[in-house]
Amino acid sequence: MSFRKILIANRGEIALRVARTCREMGIPTVAVYSTADRDARFAAYADEAVHIGPAQARRSYLYAPAVIEAALQTGADAIHPGYGFLSEDADFARICADNGITFIGPRPEVMDCVGDKARVRSLMAEAGLPVLPGSDGAVASLSDAEQVAARIGYPVIVKAAAGGGGRGIEVARDRAELKDVYRRTTAFARQVFGNGEVYLERYIPVARHVEVQLLGDEHGTVLHLGERDCSLQRRNQKLVEEAPSPVLPDGVRAALGEYAVAGARHVGYTGAGTMEFLVDAAGRATFMEINARIQVEHPVTEMLTGVDIVREQIRVAAGEPLSFTQDQVELAGAAIECRVNAEDPDAGFRPTPGRLAVFRPPGGPGVRVDSGFSQGDMVPPTYDSLIAKLVVWAPTRAEAIARADRALAEFAVEGAGVATTIPLLRRLLAQPEFAEGRHTTRFVEEFLSREAGLRAG
């Protein structure tokens, strides 16, 4: 069986991305859009489009009743949530089920479980995955947190149990700091995530962010598509992602894949997901969290494996088996994704919305561009500033870096008031630390202060 019609509960490039695969599968699509997106490309691309609310996401893309009503009105029997918005909302998945609509994602119980970062940490330890020394689940109070910190040693990292995407996380170097950090993170978590619980882990200052792409079906198959290295990030916001990781020893690479599959099996994971690991300077990996959705950077893995991850998500949600086995997964060459944001790195990464007077994406060999925009479109100030994902593939990492630079140089984006991350991305790719794969998650900040120093000096 497959779906009659899929509603895409998202916007921008990921809405277009999902609609493209639906078209290739012959499944009609419904877009939902806010007033700010009434002229957006993704809304025009879908077979039908429903205006679900005003610009504010709370009243449109995050407003479950509007999305469900749109699905019921148009006769959509499945909803693809993309990333962000309602994608990790187990309650929304339940409402879908209550209305006879398939939510394209893991089962709600599994979403609940992996959404509680403190709980999933314990579950993964149970499944044999390495986790950092830390609290057993959430800490009950400041004194509880102080006891855990005293046991595991400072510095510690305090994380919101309901957090994600790098928000609600702070480091405490000593007991005095922990007091403030505990207060801030619990307050932040309560306010932003509606759940004030936090947990503690030992803090590894210099590390790499490596994540494994998972796929599971309802027939008991769980497999992985290798890892992505997302160490080039600024304030937990990824700028560049690549595969394979340039620093992972082969033994660790194989182990991460096995860990990811074991952990996913342990919680009964189905659909697409990502298991995040931290890899320290000595090559030791520890489990961080599970992201129960398609990731922004999934095309990196698609370029390396040839697998259409969205297609597999849809197949699995429709009850079909995955279309290949672990043995058939081949990881060939090297892929790099660069996030082109409408932001001004010279002005504290301030978003720079505006009309794209010129928008000319690169082409030629080994280049893929996923963007929700085309020339003449308006980048609204309302949502995130991602305007395009440039993904390149080449037989070797060095060739992929050269190709990424070539393609970034070709990428023309112009508009009154519009600045992009393209020049910064080119400078980052040109650094010897990146070429040699020596960069950690702190590299971008180091690089930016080095540049600022040069300018000041």
């Binding site: 205006h51 679900i52 609310g53 407003y63 009743p65 469900i68 009105q73 009309r355 003449g376």
Partner: protein
């Protein structure tokens, strides 16, 4: 007021008027999609003309707005200013009456007061009453009973009471 100052004053006025026209142009250009083919401003009696290029056979957003002096009147699609729209506050199903078989909340010709319920939009089994923003007379009920509506879709038009 000496001549020089008068000249400056006139300049300032021209400046301001021109800025106004330009801002109008910018606003219109931003709100209507498609590549602009031409913009013309005039100060004399205050005019502004923008043409959009028709990239294809698609319905051309023929956004032509002409303002001509004293009582500035938008010519194009001049929606009757005495008509106000009551729109759907969310996606759902529009109901004209509180329950099947009951008389409708309003019918064309009815007088409504500000805050009066003119219909219901049901979403996820929740009944959301829709109220008139302004007092006046119901000129049109734009959606049939039990029809699906999108956010912002016009449900009812009310001819508001004159000033």
């Amino acid at each position: 007021m000496d001549e020089q100052a008068a000249g400056r004053h006139a300049d300032d006025r021209e400046h301001a008027a021109m800025r106004l026209l330009r801002e109008e142009a910018a606003t219109i250009v931003k709100t209507v999609p498609g590549p602009v083919a031409s913009v013309s401003l005039r100060l004399g009696e205050c005019a502004l003309k923008i043409s959009w290029a028709a990239p294809a056979a698609e319905a051309v957003p023929a956004g032509q707005i002409v303002q001509t002096a004293q009582p500035a009147q938008p010519v194009e699609a001049a929606p009757d200013p005495s008509l106000v729209e009551v729109t759907a506050p969310l996606v759902g199903t529009f109901y004209m009456a509180p329950e099947p078989g009951a008389p409708p909340f309003v019918e064309v010709g009815d007088r409504v007061s500000e805050g009066q319920t003119i219909g219901i939009v049901e979403a996820m089994k929740l009944m959301n009453p829709v109220k008139a923003d302004r007092a006046g007379q119901v000129a049109e009920v734009a959606v049939a009973d039990a029809e699906p509506v999108e956010y912002g879709q016009v449900l009812v038009r009310i001819r508001v009471d004159g000033p």
